[in-house]
Symmetry: C2
Subunit: 248 residues, 2 copies
């Protein structure tokens, strides 16, 4: 139904970007003017001045034309995660990967806001968007599962961190879209992602976790986290804090 | 497309549960035997021995018949959250609300596993399931937004905690479904939810957060968390730990 199994042909995407852009622009214009349900693919190709087959060369469905850049972003994101070095902080890497999506929205604010308004109105588009978000989250979670391989909480932690990162990213993104695209969405996205990064990386740095910091930033700004059961005597706490300071 | 705006009529749901059950059973049988796409609503009503209109009395779409109990669970969950007292730990409450869904799956393991296998194969069902999960997450996030109203990170925290809770719940649930329904799914769900609860509640108990613990459990088992920048002298850390111990 969402037609996600069909792929754009390898020779089609690069050869005629103008035709692809024309289809996206025509579709958006008609969806806004007439409504999504009232617009047919024939209407779109007529306005874009191309044949019906050209539409399906670029997009598997009427829903997909509203999200034309997500396939490219997913591929970029996978490449970026795949190029991660063994010493990279995996949670930081996943946050950086999520920023690819934010940048795509920021690059074209008018289109992004128009699409957001449309997506609120059309349940089919909302559902399609959920399936896109789910695919991003899956890519992030799979990377984390591999990187958390030695942890006992491996897959659970990977899934929860990926969900947290996506939720934080989309929280900032949606607020910006609701505002009509005002303000600096990338700064807001960074702040939201850092919130999540702090939560999960503070835990990484806790006793028994093993994973170190990301090596970046001023050491004086590092955060030390101490966990202790309430019955533990103060001297054991101090010992723990000192050990943590030595390690970081 | 997902048809979520249509509601079951108030007088239909209670009057003929047998007819509703017959439709669900017939649909599942046909979807498994013939495939989802190859089964029409006419096929389903013929096997169930009811008229076509009866189908739409209970279900807005062919997808919805595969998830017959989610509307009821969503309503129960909203009621449970609405009945929360002002002193309840909100993260604990949200975890308890998520357990409603786990119990629904555990109550009918055979149906749950069969549906899981079907959902993996049919993109339209997978998408429908995502929209159902999204609605659960939204209900949890809205409750948390209200309960976190005095916090500066209010809506971001609400969205991220809700996403974490849903991810943890579904992590345990999916592992059980993949196993064919072996083992104690409710124990696994509890463990996954407690993992998330610990993360977000440890933070609640940290300096500057304000929200206290849930009042349950042995105080000797409480966990104290201290955050400190790396430049902070040891005496300030000890002071912070002592203050945290006094507060909890």
């Amino acid at each position: 139904m969402s037609g996600e199994t069909r792929e754009r042909p390898a020779n089609g995407g690069q050869a005629k970007p103008a035709m692809r852009d024309a289809l996206v622009a025509a579709a958006l214009q008609l969806f806004v003017e007439r409504g999504f349900e009232q617009t047919t693919i024939d209407d779109i190709v007529a306005l874009a001045g191309v044949g019906r087959r050209s539409f399906f060369r670029y997009f598997p469905s009427k829903e997909a034309v509203v999200f034309p850049d997500h396939e490219g972003r997913l591929a970029e994101m996978s490449g970026f995660l795949g190029a991660s070095g063994p010493d990279d902080d995996p949670v930081q890497r996943v946050c950086d990967a999520a920023r690819f999506v934010g940048r795509m929205y920021a690059d074209n604010p008018e289109f992004s806001v128009q699409r957001y308004r449309l997506t609120r109105q059309v349940p089919g588009l909302r559902t399609h968007e959920l399936s896109v978000v789910w695919r991003y989250e899956k890519v992030l979670a799979e990377f984390l599962r591999a990187r958390f391989a030695v942890r006992p909480d491996r897959t659970l932690r990977a899934d929860v961190v990926a969900a947290s990162v996506v939720a934080a990213h989309n929280h900032a993104l949606r607020a910006w879209l609701r505002s009509g695209g005002r303000g600096d969405v990338l700064a807001d996205v960074d702040e939201a992602l850092e919130y999540v990064h702090q939560v999960w990386c503070d835990l990484c740095a806790g006793p028994g976790a093993g994973a170190g910091g990301d090596g970046g930033g001023d050491p004086a700004d590092d955060v030390v986290v101490v966990f202790a059961k309430r019955g533990v005597p103060m001297w054991r706490l101090v010992q723990g804090v000192e050990a943590a300071l030595d390690e970081t």
